[in-house]
Amino acid sequence: MARVVLTGNLAKLADGEAELDLDVSSVRQLLRVLGDRHPRLKPHLEKGLAVAINGTIYQEAWLEAIPPDGEVFLMPQIGGG
């Protein structure tokens, strides 16, 4: 089970469920499971999101693998100047 943490305003949209243990093996799968569980989150999962897996930040990376005991943070997408 991966430990998934929702940061910022995402937790609110998940009815306060900021930390979850999910059986997911890829980012795409994670987003699908989260969206099904919290429909209010769904539009926010489709855009403007970054996913940190064991400390490395991935953006727009559906296919990235999530290890079984991975620590995953969902956070706002990062841009730059």
Binding site: E64, G79, G80, G81
Partner: protein, 763 residues
């Protein structure tokens, strides 16, 4: 495998300081920037801008303007179709086209001084000017609001009737200027403040500042009768320009070919569009190419800047120097449309530190100012200025050296960043130690002088990136990247290509490809180019090498796996070692036609795993207590580059960021009159640092390799502008003996602070 630095591999080009490939063009005046392009038969495009801070546009009459001899097209809000106010994905960005269209050309209302209202294309500048004068706009002026706190008040003039605060709890039931409320929580600050022995709380304020690139926005556009478009422009991201313009003008993305000119500075301010859609729309209507160039006044009034903000910070610490809690609440000015960098501002605020309890709240606030654009580490300098100022004050309060205090709390590998995830290998502590050990830090100060330390963090990013690498018949290489080169990236990419291929740096000729020559490539921003295009370059070179080995294998009639690539030549390996004479790149290139065709490499990647950037700055200032002038005497930057591919250009980023920070801290600000009009839209009155304002900037390049890049690269372009504001504020405060909480610390404000302190002492 690409060689990692420190892996015992002798690097021939990476880490050296060769002359940049575009250097001669730039010292001889040959290099062509945005305004240097011309198309045959081009018209001159000009923009009519709002003279009001806030007004309803009741009507626009262009009939007289259209009759001016030489005028070929006039466009207004009626010429660009509206789009729904929903975010649309454009590459990696989420764009609200309803807002963007309204910023490019006002529709129902003008929302700031300088807001574009109409545009004309004419055969001469004179005719265009004449036409602008004859456009009749009937405005109904409205009350305006500029200040962030005033804009948040319930009785403030509301800019957008359809703007309801996102993230408000309970949900907003009426429109306001607060576009968004965001919140980040780590641990429990209530518990943290309980554990604290010292708790300080202060409020800070910063003013909007402009990116200040020397080259104004410029473009030339041509749309032909069959709907094909060509656009040359000065931009940080021509693929992004293409996507946005194509959607706005109603073209297929592939029907628009965008070429990035040389770019005369961007700093984030050229990641958006202003003139480009107007030039395309004018060209479409006129049937001729249209060239548009902004004046400096237009640049100030209608592009950039970055946010001004108010920030409240509260920090609790134990007397032995451990921070137990950090709290911050910040409101950022977004300008006329939502989208300030308050999100990263919140995430970065406490990021340099290893804290258990953090609570940060941010507000994105619209006002009657130009819509903000990204500016180097967007949002981070503002929030980190406030935090670094208070960190310094807490260190003073508990009687601890400011570097030791930071060292005791510094983020390190394994630290949970205040915004969530754990850091991998990072160089925060190394930069603090480098400054602490510097000769500068250990040199005594004179009277009226003060010393300040500030640290800073920025994420850095990767993203979608394409690079092609073609081997020419003589064994030289052409490298094409899609990321406009603002500060020397053609050099760094060529260095990595030369290193991989084992050929001379001079044998690699790099160019920036147009949007029809490469796959989608995200813009030059987020300090991503040397990281992402570097990663793609290495990958393209590896593909070339693989092919070269395969060709050699065919020539030798041995398996491809039995060939290795070393020092620019294919060598038989394993059982075959020494059986054949090595084949050089030159030889393999010459026979490429006979062995299967030209040898090329192409990488199309979404680069992930950017390495976070940390830096610490040290500055000495002297304050003239009679005039309030602050003179920067000495400056040292230490920052983690991961691996400096071309150290001179890394140093250049550090030095340039520091000096931009000096301007932000001491002088730069947008000044508005009561009428809501900008009063200083020129370089004389918007005072950026000049050569005589600043000292040399010493640099220390720390190298903690980023494990996700073949050479260990981290982005370096943005972090350097994060620490200066706090470092300089701390230095000024130490010099005058009183804490200042507002930027810029311009002479009048310093005088006020000094006078206030003198009066206070006399009481």
């Amino acid at each position: 495998m690409a060689p990692m630095d420190g892996g015992g591999h002798d690097l021939k080009w990476v880490g050296k300081r060769p002359v940049r490939p575009d250097g001669v063009d730039k010292v001889t005046g040959r290099a062509r920037f945005g305004a240097d392009y011309n198309m045959a038969g081009q018209l001159v495009g000009r923009v009519l801008r709002s003279p009001h801070a806030h007004a309803v546009i009741k009507s626009i009459d262009t009939s007289a303007a259209e009759k001016v001899p030489g005028v070929k097209a006039v466009i207004t809000r009626d010429d660009i179709p509206d789009q729904p106010p929903e975010p649309v994905t454009v590459g990696e960005m989420s764009v609200n086209f309803s807002d963007l269209i309204r910023n490019v050309l006002a529709r129902e209302k003008v929302l700031y001084d300088g807001h574009a209202v109409a545009a004309v294309a004419a055969t001469s500048a004179k005719a265009a000017r004449e036409a602008l004068k004859l456009i009749k706009v009937d405005y109904q002026p409205l009350p305006h609001v500029l200040d962030v706190e005033e804009a948040m008040r319930p009785d403030a003039p509301v800019l957008h009737d359809n703007l309801f605060t996102e993230g408000a709890d309970p949900p907003a039931d009426k429109p306001s200027n607060i576009a968004k409320r965001i919140e980040f929580t780590l641990g429990d600050v209530a518990v943290g403040f309980e554990q604290a022995e010292v708790v300080l709380e202060r409020s800070y304020k910063t003013e909007p500042v402009h990116q200040g690139y020397i080259e104004p926005h410029a473009c030339v556009a041509s749309v032909t009768e069959d709907g094909q478009g060509e656009l040359w422009c000065s931009t940080q991201g021509h693929f992004v320009v293409r996507a946005i313009c194509a959607r706005m003008i109603g073209m297929d993305i592939s029907a628009l070919r965008v070429t990035a000119s040389e770019i005369g500075g961007g700093f984030g301010g050229k990641t958006v569009v202003y003139l480009e859609p107007l030039a395309l729309a004018l060209s479409k209507k006129a049937g001729h190419p249209v060239k548009m160039v902004m004046t400096r006044s237009e640049v100030f009034r209608a592009t950039g800047p970055t946010s001004g903000a108010t920030i409240r910070v509260k920090i609790g610490a134990t007397k032995d120097g451990r921070i137990t809690a950090g709290e911050a609440e910040m409101a950022y000015l977004a300008g006329a449309f939502p989208g300030s960098p308050v999100n990263p501002g919140c995430m970065c605020a406490f990021a340099p530190y290893d804290l258990e309890n953090v609570w940060v709240v941010g507000y994105d606030v619209v006002s009657n100012r130009p819509k903000v654009a990204a500016y180097r580490a967007p949002g981070a300098p503002i929030s980190e200025y406030a935090v670094e100022s208070l960190i310094d004050e807490v260190a003073d309060e508990i009687g601890m050296d400011p570097i030791d205090f930071r060292l005791k709390n510094a983020a390190k590998q394994g630290t949970h960043a205040a915004y969530g995830p754990k850091f991998g290998p990072i160089g925060m502590i190394d930069t603090l130690k480098a400054i602490k050990e510097s000769e500068h830090y250990n040199t005594p100060l004179g009277p009226n002088q003060g010393r300040g330390v500030g640290s800073g963090f920025w994420f850095n990013i990767g993203g979608e990136t394409c690079v092609s690498l073609n081997i020419s018949e003589d064994g030289t290489a052409t490298l094409m990247a899609g990321t406009p080169d603002i500060g020397g990236s053609r050099a760094t990419l060529s260095q990595m290509a030369a290193e991989e291929l084992g050929i001379d740096y001079d044998k690699v000729r790099p160019i920036i490809g147009d949007t029809s020559s490469l796959g989608y490539t995200f813009l030059t921003g987020g300090s991503r180019v040397t990281f992402s295009s570097g990663m793609a370059t290495v990958q393209a070179a590896q593909e070339v090498i693989k092919e070269l080995c395969a060709r050699a294998a065919k020539i030798w009639d041995i398996p491809a796996e039995a060939v290795t690539w070393e020092d620019g030549e294919a060598r038989p390996a394993g059982d075959n070692a020494g059986k054949f004479d090595p084949l050089s790149l030159e030889e393999l290139a010459a026979s490429a036609g006979k062995t299967g065709g030209p040898i090329t490499g192409y990488a199309s990647i979404n680069a992930q795993g950017a390495g976070p950037g940390f830096g610490t700055h040290l500055v000495d200032v002297e304050v003239d207590k009679e005039t309030g002038r602050v003179t920067v005497l000495r400056y040292t930057v230490a920052q983690d580059a991961g691996k400096a591919i071309h150290p001179s250009y890394v140093e250049g980023q550090y030095q340039g960021g520091a000096v931009q920070g000096i301007g932000w801290a001491l002088n730069e600000e947008y000044i508005y009159g009561d009428d809501g009009l900008m009063q200083n839209p020129g370089f004389l009155d918007y005072r950026m640092p000049v050569a005589s304002d600043v000292p040399m900037v010493d640099t220390v390049i720390v190298e903690v390799p980023n494990p996700n890049h073949p050479y260990g690269v981290r982005g370096v372009g943005e972090t350097p502008i994060v620490p200066p504001l706090g470092a300089i504020a701390n230095a000024v405060s130490h010099a005058v003996g009183v804490r200042m909480h507002e930027l810029p610390m311009s002479p009048p404000k310093v005088l006020e602070a000094v006078g206030g302190a003198a009066n206070g002492a006399g009481d």
